[in-house]
């Protein structure tokens, strides 16, 4: 990647492309994501050659679509293009697991922070209580990860859970905590 442009933010590169139509900006922008897109496609397709073909098709789609309409959040957009492309491929091959089919064509979830207006102390108090309401596995992983700053592998080693379980307990624990906070907030109204 050309280092001259490495400090220009994504949105600025995209704006320059929209402004003068020069696709060198698009090239700079897309190359920033080659490794990440390869990783995303690899996760779903589980084969290096297929992942490579998928990234190439994602690039082609991006070049075509970005010339037609304006995209505001490039990173989320290109991620959804890549993910949907992989899920479509899996569906066509009849390899799409049920839980993934439910995610198909999903738009990036807007993570609205409903707790913005709460004071830090109040929020912390509510969070501390909310953590106690989690199932034990999620509570343990959340505490080790956020309070004791342990890495996934350290948590897996100290709890006996697999790495995947640790990630899943943290991810689901986070989601549940946000839901508990939201519920508390709605009940308090």
């Amino acid at each position: 990647m050309n280092t001259t442009y490495s400090t220009i933010p994504d949105q600025e590169l995209l704006n320059r492309f929209y402004h003068d139509g020069d696709n060198k900006w698009l090239g700079q922008l897309l190359q920033r994501y080659t490794v990440l897109l390869f990783g995303v496609c690899m996760k779903y397709l589980k084969n290096e050659e297929e992942a490579k073909d998928a990234v190439q098709q994602v690039f082609e789609k991006a070049i075509k679509e970005l010339g037609k309409y304006k995209v505001d959040y490039f990173k989320s957009w290109i991620y959804m293009v890549a993910k949907n492309h992989c899920l479509m491929q899996l569906r066509d091959k009849g390899k799409l697991p049920k839980e993934l089919s439910e995610q198909m064509m999903a738009t990036p979830a807007e993570d609205v922070n409903h707790t913005e207006h709460l004071q830090k102390d109040e929020l912390l108090e509510r969070l501390t209580i909310a953590v106690t309401e989690l199932i034990p596995e999620q509570r343990t992983c959340i505490e080790l990860f956020y309070l004791q700053k342990k890495s996934y592998t350290d948590i897996a080693a100290s709890t006996g859970y697999s790495l995947m379980q640790v990630k899943s307990y943290i991810q689901n624990g986070k989601r549940n905590l946000k839901m508990i906070l939201l519920k508390q907030q709605n009940n308090g109204r």
């Binding site: 990783g39 995303v40 991620y79 993570d111 990860f145 700053k149």
Partner: protein, 118 residues
């Protein structure tokens, strides 16, 4: 330490490719690892990329990435060349047509003016 719990609500999506690759190579301290993982847990794209890159053969991945970047540059260059060689519409034809239309308008105006004033 309890303050760290507030990190759960932070949505930091600023992990770079370089940091992710360093993380995958295991070149980070435990604190740095935790910091990367906290950001991974806030970004679906990074988290998916991390999982995929972990299962990819590094040599194949590097080859694929180099090929993809080369193909991308080639494709964009071709597009640029095509656009450069696109025939431009004949300028003189446009000028002559505009001139003729203007003459016709003036003539039409004169005819109508003469007819009205006898």
């Amino acid at each position: 330490m309890a303050d760290n719990l507030l990190d759960i609500l932070n949505q930091r999506d600023d992990l770079t490719e370089q940091e992710l690759l360093q993380y995958l190579q295991g070149n980070l301290t435990p604190e740095e690892r935790n910091a990367v993982e906290q950001r991974l847990s806030s970004s679906d794209m990074m988290s998916d990329a991390e999982e995929g890159l972990r299962m990819a053969d590094e040599k194949k991945m590097r080859h694929a990435v180099a090929d993809l970047n080369k193909q991308l540059s080639h494709q964009l260059q071709q597009q640029r060349r095509k656009r450069k060689h696109k025939p431009v519409p004949n300028q003189s034809l446009i000028i002559i047509t505009t001139f003729l239309i203007l003459v016709l308008i003036v003539l039409a105006f004169l005819v109508i003016y003469k007819m009205k004033n006898g």
